[in-house]
């Protein structure tokens, strides 16, 4: 069991952003979180990261209250690919990916052989090694997002949280990175929690889908079971046709214009 979220509520200033939300996230699964803009997806992620604390309710991680973990401990457990990423200083792409190793390195030490090899391997897999020595400030939005993704992979944590991590990527790199992610779920029993906008991608890659609306969970369950016309209509207010597509081995959604 990775996360047990027990009846949490969260207020941002006076606004209730998360409303009596409960969910259980198991280890070794690829979760997709879907929902309209402003439904509290990013807030939920902040709460899972202990970046914010719930106003009421409790979150357990691996059976222990999340608030009892130190920042240091959590940095070895949960990695994040953030939604917006902006950096003002000209670090090289490789330096940024190496920062993912910091939680595993003593404060004043230099990277070991293992760290260097791991970083190189991840950069090759994510197709970022070609600009390893270029400045992150000079890369395009999509290239930068790949570097940030590589950084989170280098952190090598049991849980990886993707907050619209593929929003700037072309389709080749989107699929490439999501494949790396699902490979980690299958091979290494890692847990991935991904906020996604594209319902078809979510259906193709995620084991379970969690639909959010107005700060609480509207529906959740196995991707094949939970994805249907009524749910999509009730959450996004769009008309759809949903069918099983053997080519992607998943349910796919067609939208009415």
């Amino acid at each position: 069991m990775a996360f047990e979220v027990d009846n949490i509520t969260f207020y941002y200033e006076d606004k209730k952003v998360i409303d009596a939300l409960s969910v259980v996230l198991e280890s070794g699964k690829f979760y997709g979180i879907l929902g309209p803009n402003g439904c509290g997806k990013t807030t939920l992620i902040d709460l899972l990261l202990k970046h914010s604390r719930p106003s009421t309710g409790k979150i357990n991680y691996k059976g222990k209250d999340l608030s009892h973990y130190s920042r240091k401990e959590l940095s070895r457990e949960i990695a994040l690919v953030p939604q917006n990423f902006y950096i003002n200083f000209p670090f090289t792409a490789k330096e940024v990916v190496m920062m993912g190793r910091y939680p595993h390195m003593p404060r004043f030490s230099v990277p070991t052989e293992v760290d260097l090899e791991l970083v190189q391997d991840i950069m090759e897999k994510t197709d970022t090694y070609q600009f390893a020595h270029r400045f992150i400030t000079e890369l395009s939005g999509g290239e930068r997002q790949r570097v940030v993704f590589a950084r989170a992979l280098a952190q090598d944590t049991p849980v990886l949280i993707l907050d619209e991590a593929t929003s700037n990527l072309d389709i080749h790199h989107t699929i490439r990175l999501l494949n790396i992610a699902s490979e980690r779920v299958e091979k290494d029993k890692k847990t991935i929690i991904a906020v996604l906008q594209d319902i078809n991608l979510a259906a193709a890659f995620c084991d379970d889908l969690i639909f959010m609306k107005q700060g609480s969970i509207a529906a959740c369950g196995n991707s094949d079971e939970v994805l249907n016309r009524e749910i999509i209509h009730s959450i996004f207010n769009v008309e759809t046709k949903i069918y099983y597509e053997p080519y992607s081995n998943a349910k796919q959604v067609i939208f009415k214009r």
Partner: protein
């Protein structure tokens, strides 16, 4: 290939540190010899050596005045200038790193305005219960109170945001500089003392100033070095830094307060000296990249060399002494414009 690259970059940083350190020692000795009474390089070394080892035989046959000039007049001033330069430079590195703004400097949070206001008050009302340390003491109190107020003004439940800090700093500094103008207006004959203090000077510094600044800058340097890696992570933004193990409520506050206190001590001792804290980190970053673990020691040494050279120029090279704050702004300002413009042209 990649290993060698990594190693060679660490090595080149080490070489630069050694080079700057030797340069600093050289500049200290040469500038000690320069001035109204010129001393040779070797005489300076002999005098310093004699003083450290206590062996009078080294300075036999020398004018009795020389050791006094070196030990009591020139060295305290020179060392203070170097330490203040280093302190302002590392404080600048930290401010830029935390506020995620390459244009931030040690005075961004209004520390200089606070110090100036405190000093102006002490000068105007002729407060003298601490002797010659009254003005620096009041400057330090002014700077610290300003810092506390700016942090109070900009803090919210979610921690310190860079925009809020900069904005609060600007507002408070604007109010204080109006206050300083008012104090100048009230002052009669002291107005020139106030103006002179504001422009900065290392004249008539004592060993007490040296030890005071040295202690503060040393402690700050150790703190900054300890958190240098966290400072790197903080440039990725708060959320990411937190997910990489940085305590994003505590660490920025510790660094901000330390950097401001160093700036406050420097300002109290020497008056307002601009551009060192802005320029040095920029220069070092453009050569060595933004890794704070290299940036902090290199900036410390480069800041010391630069400000010491500038002070020596006004003290011993120019026909009349011009205030050091004016000189650094006159040299640093255009130089900054040049770098800035070059960056704009590069895209």
């Amino acid at each position: 290939m990649t290993d060698r690259l990594k190693k060679s970059s660490t090595q080149s940083t080490l070489i630069q540190i050694i080079f700057l350190f030797i340069a600093l020692c050289g500049v200290i000795i040469i500038s000690t010899g320069l001035g109204y009474i010129r001393l040779s390089f070797f005489d300076v070394i002999k005098i310093i050596f004699a003083e450290i080892t206590g062996q009078e035989s080294f300075i036999k046959g020398m004018d009795d005045l020389f050791p006094v000039i070196v030990m009591d007049i020139r060295l305290p001033r020179i060392l203070t200038a170097g330490i203040v330069g280093g302190g302002l430079a590392i404080s600048g590195v930290v401010f830029q790193g935390i506020l995620l703004n390459p244009l931030a400097d040690p005075y961004t949070l209004g520390v200089s305005a606070g110090a100036a206001f405190g000093a102006a008050l002490a000068i105007l009302f002729n407060i003298g219960f601490l002797g010659t340390y009254s003005v620096p003491f009041f400057a330090f109190i002014g700077a610290t109170l300003t810092l506390v107020f700016v942090i109070y003004l900009s803090s919210s439940g979610k921690g310190l945001s860079s925009n809020n800090l900069i904005l609060s700093g600007i507002i408070v500094a604007a109010i204080l500089s109006a206050g300083i103008s008012f104090l100048k207006y009230l002052a009669d004959e002291q107005v020139s003392i106030i103006i002179f203090w504001l422009m900065g000077s290392f004249g008539s510094k004592t060993w007490m100033d040296v030890f005071l600044t040295f202690a503060f800058v040393c402690i700050a340097f150790l703190i900054f070095t300890f958190f240098a890696r966290d400072l790197n992570l903080m440039s990725l933004g708060n959320r990411t830094a937190a997910s990489l193990g940085v305590d994003t409520t505590k660490v920025p506050l510790i660094l901000l307060v330390t950097a401001s206190l160093v700036a406050a001590v420097c300002v109290s001792v020497s008056g307002i000296i601009g551009f060192v804290g802005l320029l040095i980190p920029h220069m070092i970053r453009s050569i060595n990249g933004p890794d704070n673990r290299k940036l902090i020691p290199l900036s410390l040494l480069a800041g010391a060399v630069l400000l010491l050279c500038a002070d020596t120029i006004t003290r011993a090279v120019l026909p009349t002494e011009i205030p050091i704050g004016v000189l650094t702004a006159l040299i640093g300002g255009p130089f900054f414009c040049y770098i800035f413009r070059k960056r704009q042209m590069a895209g």
